[in-house]
Amino acid sequence: MRRTWWLWGASLATYAFLYVPLTIVVLFSFNDSKLNAEWVGFTGNWYRTLFGDEAMLGAARNSLFIAVTASVAATVLGTMAGIAMHRYRPRLLPFMVLTPVAMPEILLGVSLLVFFISVFGEQSLSLGTVIVAHVTFCIGFVAIIVRARLAGMDESIFEAARDLGATPWQTFRLVTLPLIMPGVIAGALMSFTLSIDDFVITFFTTGAGVSTLPLQIYTMIKVAVTPEVNAVSTLLMALTLTMIVIASRLAPDALRGQG
């Protein structure tokens, strides 16, 4: 294991870069000032406000539900797409998978809105339409990562499995899946993150009364991004942390890869 000092130094610098703003977010959730501008004093009030803020909590619940559902669906479909693109090299699928990633979100959002309304009617906008929209733009990310993972893998493993009489499903379950698992997990994490943070597409595809956290926060920008928003972000991070810790206990070898 070659670890030189510069590798550690550069990595720590990157981690620091990632965490300084984060520290500010968490710190300022305890800031005794309505403005998110500079440190005034310590208070836990914002968390109290948060728990009384039904609108914000509802939005947070929606966001989580949407993110989990959408990332599961996107990971399944995206993994299938990634494998398909690598194994079978279809002509049309790569284009359909990758263009949602290339397209500006606004176009995706507006097009889905127009589509839902013209096909499913005017009352159709709801939580479901948001989830579908999120899956659409997340599939590409998962597929790209899974395909990158498969590229450069030794094909002989799959051939060996087949020669040994394994059915395609067995090959997938016992050989392919474990090998691509880090890619699948990375894709799932990416989808979750994208979904929970999405503003543009969600904006266009939610129904009346369905709000998500980014929408809620965005509408607060004008007045003040009060520390209540920091509080909800901090809690969201704590929740994600807990989820990931639980997941890693249940599937410990997932990210480490078997290759």
Partner: protein, 352 residues
């Protein structure tokens, strides 16, 4: 992996199966939580709000066919737009006995003569807000648009000025400064306004529609083009934060844009009955005054005056006198050709 996911599914939002739900699509922070609570108690129903930060956002969503909203609170030109599209349901005056509370000068506006569709809610003025001490120190006049357009003033506050990131608002300010109407569509005048803006642009820090309140309060910015209720909030926040400076705001003498927001009924709204109850509720002086006291919103309700905090009622920027009111104009909507022309000009402004 499965167990935690199942647990999370339980967190799935439970539909609110309240029998009486009113859907309001409103500007953010345009109604206080106390008012909402009192309304809900008085009607025994639930008020569900969705928010927009800009008329255009709301119009865009509606233009795509989004439905389900009972009430909207658009600004004048947006009301005009919605009426012409046939998207609104007429109001039933018999259900609005409190309509008489509105001051006559705010009834029968250009966008809805006869008030067949709209009920005035609140208004704001687009003006300039500033750091009082810094303006005095640098000798910048604060009663004129020259403060944000004249290089001889701007060079003293270079990099400390923001203007609104809105095509109509910025053009209107320029047109007013040049002595034209905000609804002037003469291309020659527009070009003059554009050149005025481009001449001033190098001194500006940013086009900013959202965070200028905070930036003023913190002291990063000393002069901002913005809305009266935002400036009110900034002034309050600066005082509350114990700053060594004060935030002031004033309507330029050349005139400004007045934005009157009205409550309207969207034709797809499922509960017009509840909507009328809400409108009548908000037409009561006491309820209407709450918003003014909270964010310094201009109030067109005569009955509200007695409930408004005296310092706000005396504020000429929030409640302009007749002379100032005469110099203010409301924005009319532009047709699509003009919108395109303006957009082209705006791109030039942004890029050059």
């Amino acid at each position: 992996m499965r167990a935690p996911l199942c647990a999370l599914a339980l967190l799935a939002p439970l539909r609110v199966f309240a029998a009486d739900v009113l859907h309001l699509y409103n500007w953010n922070n345009y109604i206080t939580p106390d008012t909402v609570a009192r309304f809900e108690k008085s009607c025994g129903c639930k008020l569900v709000q969705d928010y927009y930060a800009d008329n255009e956002e709301m119009l865009a969503k509606l233009a795509a066919g989004a439905t389900g909203y009972d009430l909207l609170v658009p600004t004048g030109n947006a009301v005009e737009n919605l009426i012409q599209q046939g998207a609104l349901r007429p109001i039933d005056r018999r259900l609005l006995p409190n309509l008489k509370n509105i001051k006559p000068e705010f009834m029968g506006e250009f966008f809805d003569p006869g008030n067949k569709y709209s009920v005035p809610y609140a208004y704001s003025v687009t003006l300039i807000g500033y750091n009082v001490e810094k303006m005095k120190e640098r000798g910048i006049p604060t009663d004129t648009w020259a403060a944000i357009f004249e290089p001889r003033y701007l060079e003293r506050v270079k990099g400390k000025v923001t203007v609104l990131d809105s095509q109509r608002e910025l053009m209107s300010a320029a047109l007013k400064y040049l002595g034209y109407s905000v609804n002037d569509v003469d291309q020659g005048h527009w070009k003059q306004a554009r050149d005025l803006i481009l001449r001033a642009k190098p001194y500006w820090a940013a086009f900013n529609a959202a965070s200028y309140i905070k930036e003023l309060t913190v002291g990063n910015i000393w002069l901002a083009h913005g809305y009266s209720n935002d400036m009110f909030t900034a002034a309050q926040d600066a005082k509350a934060a114990g700053r060594k400076f004060t935030i002031g705001y004033s309507t330029p003498k050349e005139g400004a844009v007045l934005a009157l927001d009205s409550m309207v009924l969207h034709k797809s709204g499922p509960r017009p009955d509840l909507a009328h109850r809400f409108m009548n509720f908000m037409l009561e002086g006491r309820n209407s005054a709450e918003l003014t006291n909270a964010i310094g919103a201009g109030n067109p309700n005569a009955d509200a005056t007695q409930y408004i905090r005296p310092d706000i009622a005396d504020n000429r920027a929030v409640f302009p006198d007749k002379a100032a009111l005469a110099r203010m104009e409301m924005l009319h909507d532009l047709d699509r050709r003009l919108r395109r022309l303006l957009n082209r000009m705006w791109i030039e402004i942004k890029v050059r």
